[in-house]
Amino acid sequence: MRQLIENHRVIVCTGSGGVGKTTLSAALGVLAARMGKHVLVLTIDPARRLATTLGIDQGADEVWVPGQGYAGSLHAGMIDQARIFAAYIRRNATDQATIDGLFNNALYQQLSTTLSGSQEFTSLSKLVDTASSGHYDLVILDTPPVAHAVDFLHAPEKLNAVFNTAIISMFMGRTRGFKFASAAWKMGVKMLLGTLSFLTGSEFVATFNGFFSAIDAIAPDIRETSLKAHRLLLDPSTAFVLITSFDQAKIIEGEAFHDELGAAGYHLRKVIVNRAWPTWAVPESPQVHATQTELRQQGLTALADLHQNLCRYYADRSQAHTRFENILKLTEFDTEVVGLHALEQLADRLAQV
């Protein structure tokens, strides 16, 4: 793990829900800071687990994690999509009319508060900004569970598709192709907009139109940011770490995601099976047998049976079939990993492998 930290400037932690991505991201951050790196652990999980794990203020944007005394420094960042989106527009819009046009649009107002859609973009924008800010040697990104992580990883191409293909042209009233193709396009657009008006109402289509007209003014910047993000994610200095567990369904989900990462050209550097087994249930360890014997000798049959059942369960789980090679297996902690002290202990374990 030390090598992984040493050789990369961005580490993206991905995996299924409930496997401990946030905790491991934070522990990797602690390890990196101990190694002398100035590190930011950034989360795009709207559940804000990172704040709970590190015991920091949930409302903060980028904070120095209190209580640390490392050779480097550990910072944590949560993405406030409304604030980042608004700052991005202010920074990139060339005139006040564009800013007002967007801020006053009903769709934008909902987009920055209740609706999804801007989260992937704001996350990409934040990642690009922090990775290139010069403030940090390493940015560790904690992603949402696989299904939403896929959305995030495809966000750059999705954004490019929006501004390069039919949709923006349709709402902006631009034609595509020449002569017959152009006439066919116009007819198709008319029909689709008619259907959309019928389905959604003309007011909604007008709001949509207003939104795209306003955002079109900063479209080149959005394209530029998404291209930068795409390049950064594909860069060999960006490592992907896949975190999974010994549950068969999660391993299958992880394998499919692994294939997807490979096909997209991302660099998957490590697969971690988190909470593989507790320290007292390491398969084939002499302690398993010794614990059994001692409990039975003391007449604690119910506890001995429980221990036996659990050890069998963990041993069976560890036999789960997987295509992954060189898996890093982390034993489960006896206590919960919350707070800097517990994260330091987990970082110790990561440092040993």
Binding site: P46, Q248, Y313
Partner: protein, 261 residues
């Protein structure tokens, strides 16, 4: 009943040994499973209203549809919730099931999903989309039609999130979710770890687990939930046994819920 998950990739497919996709597949008699995808849901809906189906197929080509879903804020959520609520909102939409059980997204993403109809309704004062999103919001808040069940673990972070989400769901829908604490280990009387040479670490963890389980249930009950139900940890890999054991526990929970003051 129909068991539904959202997204392109199915969890239940590999879990139950089925090929699960947009169309329902039977797992057991009277139990169907499906995985609903946003683009397919949207295509199904728009196609119904388009007069020229072949032109619709062209216009709704994959690239355009992907871009539309990517571009339009909240559209993905509305497409999925629209499909879920369609039999109640449109006479033309038929779904021959008594109950739909949705395996929804995790905390943050679920709240985004749940808030989407209200969010979109706020973008226009009238029109079909406004009417439909308002109707969706009502359906999702109707205790006769819809209920929410939250499942958490006896661990600090999941419990904290569950408590927060319990409030969020109530605020958004006015409905109180049922609370379940999953993977609760049924512990026999414990012995003091200090008196054991080899069994100490095991006993220590069991003690810490007992404390954590107790504290978690206490924190969950402080939400004001009518009852907090426990689901057992089933330390075996056989899917059918696992599901049957959980179904037994759920049945007991139903009785407890009804008996709760």
């Amino acid at each position: 009943m129909l068991l539904v998950e959202f997204g392109k990739r199915s969890f239940f497919g590999p879990f139950l040994g089925l090929e699960v996709g947009n169309d329902t597949v039977q797992w057991r008699p009277r139990i169907g499973v499906a995985c609903w995808d946003v683009e397919e849901a949207l295509r199904e809906y728009i196609s119904h209203y388009l007069v020229f189906k072949s032109a619709a197929t062209k216009i709704l080509s994959n690239t355009v549809m992907k871009a539309l879903v990517g571009a339009a804020p909240g559209l993905g959520e509305i497409a999925i919730l629209g499909k879920l609520t369609a039999p109640r909102l449109h006479a033309w939409y038929k779904r021959d099931v008594d109950v739909v059980v949705v395996d929804a997204y995790a905390t943050g993403q679920f709240m985004t999903l749940l808030r989407a109809p209200r969010g979109l309704a706020g973008t226009a004062a009238g029109g079909p989309l406004h009417r439909q999103t308002v109707a969706m919001t009502k359906l999702l808040s109707d205790p006769k039609l819809c209920e929410y069940r939250m499942v958490t673990l006896a661990e600090e972070m999941p419990v904290a999130e569950a408590c927060e989400m319990f409030v969020d769901i109530q605020t958004e829908t006015g409905l109180q979710p049922r609370l379940y604490c999953n993977r609760m280990l049924d512990l026999p009387p414990l012995a003091k770890p200090q008196s054991f040479a080899s069994a100490g670490p095991f006993l220590e963890q069991m003690q810490s687990l007992a404390t954590r389980q107790k504290l978690s249930l206490k924190r969950l009950s402080q939400t004001g939930a009518k009852a907090v139900h426990t689901l057992p940890m089933v330390p075996m890999l056989n899917v059918v046994t696992l599901l049957e054991r959980l179904a037994d526990a759920l049945e007991l929970a139903e009785v407890a819920q009804d008996a709760a003051p």
